[in-house]
Symmetry: C2
Subunit: 205 residues, 2 copies
Amino acid sequence: MTKHRKVNNLLGLTALAYLTRAPMHAYELGRTLRDNGDARSVKFNHSSLYMVIQQLAKAGFVAERETSREGQRPEKTVYAITEAGRLELLDWLRELIEEPQHEYPHFVAALSLIGALGPDDVVELLRRRLHGLAAQRSEIRDLINTTLAGGVHPLFLVEEEYRLALLEAETDFVERFIDNIVDPETGWGPLWDQFHNTNPEGNSS
Amino acid sequence: MTKHRKVNNLLGLTALAYLTRAPMHAYELGRTLRDNGDARSVKFNHSSLYMVIQQLAKAGFVAERETSREGQRPEKTVYAITEAGRLELLDWLRELIEEPQHEYPHFVAALSLIGALGPDDVVELLRRRLHGLAAQRSEIRDLINTTLAGGVHPLFLVEEEYRLALLEAETDFVERFIDNIVDPETGWGPLWDQFHNTNPEGNSS
DNA sequence: CCTGGTATAGTCAACATCGACTATACAGAG
DNA sequence: CTCTGTATAGTCGATGTTGACTATACCAGG
């Protein structure tokens, strides 16, 4: 049933997690997040961070600790997590792990409208996608290998392993899909072509 | 390189696709979308639709065709796709299929912060997730079976097949993850526990 | 005949997001 | 010693998204 959270932005979750380690100001949080590579897992936008922290403060999950300035630089406001914030973090994390969410990946949307393109066109595009997928996979594999080589426990790489698993599944899917289209015996090509030509807009119904 | 599109909302893409079949007004579009089951593939919100159509109109991808009213009901404005809109639709679809996008699923965010919870807790939550995943999978399988039984070509179900493939991959991943935690020989449990107790906030660095 | 639920059709204001901008400090190139 | 690029720290405004609201029509149950 996915609760209505006062702050409903995963950047907020990440902020709470970091603030349990130590009070920080917004910019520092952003930097840590980037350096830690968590920007790969959570959509991170510099200005969103300031907004999210305001929201967290308004909701009582973090509290302003002190504001200071060094020289002529802009003032910085340090925030600390509150007890309510700790509870929210744990509750939210538990929910995210416990309940699979219905999400809307771009590729799903594209697939649902794929009839608007012709089969030859699609096969070519899917082949290019396979290259992209291979690139992403090897990028992740490199990341994992070099990180593990640095002595980090695999627990801290689960999110990358997960991503990798999904990319592999997608690759398999795309390969099967291509086969389904081009198979000279049972391929969907001819039928699709026919449909596409009499009905060049596509999408079912 | 993902172009900056004037309308950057997949609901807009879907709207364009539907409008290639026939001019429609906003509400009708929404209904068709729901009845067609495309609301499962694209995040659909009643009021977003009106906004998106305005955007499409402003960008010149659709044009107001006529406005009419029946009885005392609100006026309805019928929109038709333009030539620019047709081109945009094809170009956009091609891009979505050709280039895998980096996305940010909720579960990835949760995994990246999972150290904030203890291993026993996590195992329990993951087991519950497995149930949820199984439910989602069988829901999709039912949908596919009944639709195919209705004589619909599998091409119009690729998006559900894709979703199913991802859910299966996720299931495998979660099962492996649980094993990695609980394995009495090599399991991460003890180490994780230790880490979690000396450092109850979690997250690497 | 009245009432509740739902389909029709759309608007609106609150809130969220994101790119662009401001402004200082500082290190290195030339 | 000036110039340029980058790190620091944050604000602002345009745009997007969402839930809640308005208002009519229509059908079924009691």
